[in-house]
Symmetry: D2
Subunit: 254 residues, 4 copies
């Protein structure tokens, strides 16, 4: 039986590519996303087409019990979850305070902070019993600095980063590896950046950043580092790392 | 007419002392706290007794509209709010993940993060119209590092810190001074630390930290720095600073 | 006898203004700078002209024993040094690695890092004996992030910042207050910024940043915060704070 | 011809193991250390014994021209240096300020900060011409916080960290990958920790931290992450990451 890698937020960007990478590395990829059942099927079929093992689920993370039940069902039906990838974002674009509704602020937290808390509450007891497990958390620049217009996103991601540290403090000595992976730049991802910019804007950015097609973060390359982190020996674990394109500036140099 | 300094979280520790300090400095202190009407009256009377101006209000910050209505009422009845002090904490002691309920996690956010967002949403438009204003935010060690057992507190304070940065990014150029004040140590405060430790435990800690009675952070001394920050000329504003007792170790040296 | 405030780097910007502020606050200002004896005399006369007490010294901080002898002479001839302000910069403008000589890199360290180590080695034993003292260190953005072209400056300031933390760790419990003051923006200082930009460029920047003449950090206003930090009660000391103009962006938002 | 991986500081801990890992990955390992020619030979023979390619050199990094000449000789005699590992430490144990001589403070800088500057000055022009290259810098907790007694070490490492950022800012867009690798814990290394503690103390620590022999950072496992970082695609580079044992606390939780 293959170990399971559960991905929350498995679109065509980081989440889907990380799922593929773990499938290639011998895991069953359990892929969850909110919508686009077709895209989900293609992802699963793509993995199976190259000989891997995967399953796909629609999951609305803000809905009560959605995460908790999915974790329980996977453990019961597929097998022990060895790795979880929390890849839910909460970027809603730049909005002035006056244009940021209470609801938007709360939804940001509910997805990006509370979602991780719920996931951890569900998987940590299982991983603790088994004495091992890995929680990989996709993070964003907004987790380390609050930029103009990012009230909802930065508050949610700043909370998420501290939560990664408290989870690490409690569970690292119990054999659970928590990693906070700071994606510090634009990702070449049609489902998120592509939708935010529209097809033309997205293509323009890709060409502008081009430089042999790697001026944006390529999700397949990101996935290699996610996989490496999950394979680190427990005597040498990474808790926090950043990732960006060579041609981009780090957040502190802007 | 005196300028108004509104304090959310005006107990016998930092909040009350900051109110007194601003009253001494010529402000009307509008003091809000959740409970203990007697303590609130004493605070107001103490300020009036030394010739200052103050008013007191019970306010439950998690209740919808409580902050918003209080801001509106003070502006209408007392005068323009020049300084707000956001001093609501969300420390619930150390709790393992398994002992941290969804509700406890959410209440931490609702008080410590969303409360500030609501306060800022209410006062920033007023301050922006006047081209000036000061928002002083009491913060805690948990805003910069997540310790074991601090899941709810650290997630809430980490979000709060990033929110201070996004508020600063939008409103500093409009003349609004946002300061994130990191209280990095135990405060000699009967209402919070005192209640958490119980009367005997609190007295023991005070004696152990004694060293001429200043091994804990003294709220009256903290208040002097709050007042200074609010008086800084806008050509030389502080956004973030830490405060701790000389005999205590900074968070990074523990 | 007045307590002494010794300033290393007392030009017409932060250093001189901090000296004036402490003189107004009842200190004897002992002002040291590398060159411009005329400017130094004017500074001393300016302070004396408003009833304060000051003395001036030319001091080349990279010269062996220069700092050590000045400290000893002031203690012997004027009185106990209660406050030292280490205000030596090492900004040499942006230079590519290929244009940064070994010598330039070393001089940066010698001034900005080793200079503080020597100063601390000279004053800490004296302050420790007296059970009190204050060391205020002017710092720069380069202490917290390394920007392009800042090889020498950033390496020197990054070292200086860590040195402030080690000094604080050893001497804070002994009653010595060490503060690392991050000047995060351009200072309206003719001796440093003015010389770097030339008279016309300096004037242009002042006008561009103008906004009622406070879009640059005004040294006289900075000085108020230096003075406040030195007056903080030891139960509530600040180790690190930032200062910038309201209209400027913090380093993390660029 | 194999690409060259040059290691400065190739003892029996991180440096030697990283050399071995790169040799296994198809690089020629050029190993430099200050002393112990026997240990160096064994390292080279060990690599050759398993079919790898390596050469060893004694190199005193504080000596003028030592690094520069070694780089030139390797490029001339062996081949293009694709990866350099700067693994020189400057830990001298905890010393009070009064026990930290000017010389000790300077040597720390000369090894840990200036050494990297000299190495970068030598290799960056070569790597820039080739449009690629990797600089892996071993770092320590003291680079991010200054602890008691660490005056020399923290000042040197803090400077080194900022230098890594300035190098990254200039050379990342030119295809040179600079990584700052924070080793945040005790390494199971006989040459450094072993010598500092003595044979008995070292053995005691190993047993205390035991927990199946991985309570200390194991250098062979660290080496896997160094190798991964050097293989990252340039669209997804890591500049900073931490490494510690699962059973150890991160620096911010102490």
């Amino acid at each position: 039986m293959k170990p399971v890698c559960l991905v929350l937020g498995a679109g065509a960007g980081i989440g889907g590519n990380v799922g593929m990478r773990f499938a290639r590395g011998g895991y069953h990829a359990a892929l969850c996303r909110r919508s686009d059942e077709d895209g989900l099927h293609k992802l699963v079929e793509g993995i199976e087409g190259e000989g891997g093992s995967a399953s796909g689920y629609l999951l609305n993370a803000v809905e009560p019990d959605s995460i908790e039940k999915r974790v329980a069902a996977i453990e019961a039906e597929i097998g022990p979850i060895e790795v979880v990838v929390f890849n839910l974002g909460a970027q809603i674009g730049d909005r002035a305070l006056a244009d940021t509704s209470y609801k938007a602020f709360e939804v940001g937290w509910r997805l990006a902070t509370f979602g991780l808390f719920r996931l951890a509450s569900a998987v940590c007891p299982l991983m603790e019993q088994r004495g091992k497990g890995t929680i990989l958390v996709t993070s964003a620049t907004a987790a380390v600095r609050g930029n103009r217009g990012q009230h909802s996103h930065a508050a949610a991601m700043g909370g998420r980063r501290m939560l990664c540290q408290t989870l690490n403090a409690e569970f690292s000595p119990k054999g659970i590896h928590v990693a906070h992976i700071l994606i510090d730049g634009a990702v070449d991802a049609p489902d998120t950046l592509g939708k935010m910019l529209g097809p033309e804007g997205f293509q323009q950015l890709r060409e502008a950043r081009g430089m042999e097609h790697d001026g944006l973060l390529l999700p397949a390359e990101i996935a290699d580092t996610y996989f490496h982190i999950a394979q680190q020996h427990r005597s040498a674990w990474t808790h926090e790392l950043d990732l960006r394109s060579f041609s981009d500036r780090p957040w502190w140099n802007h």
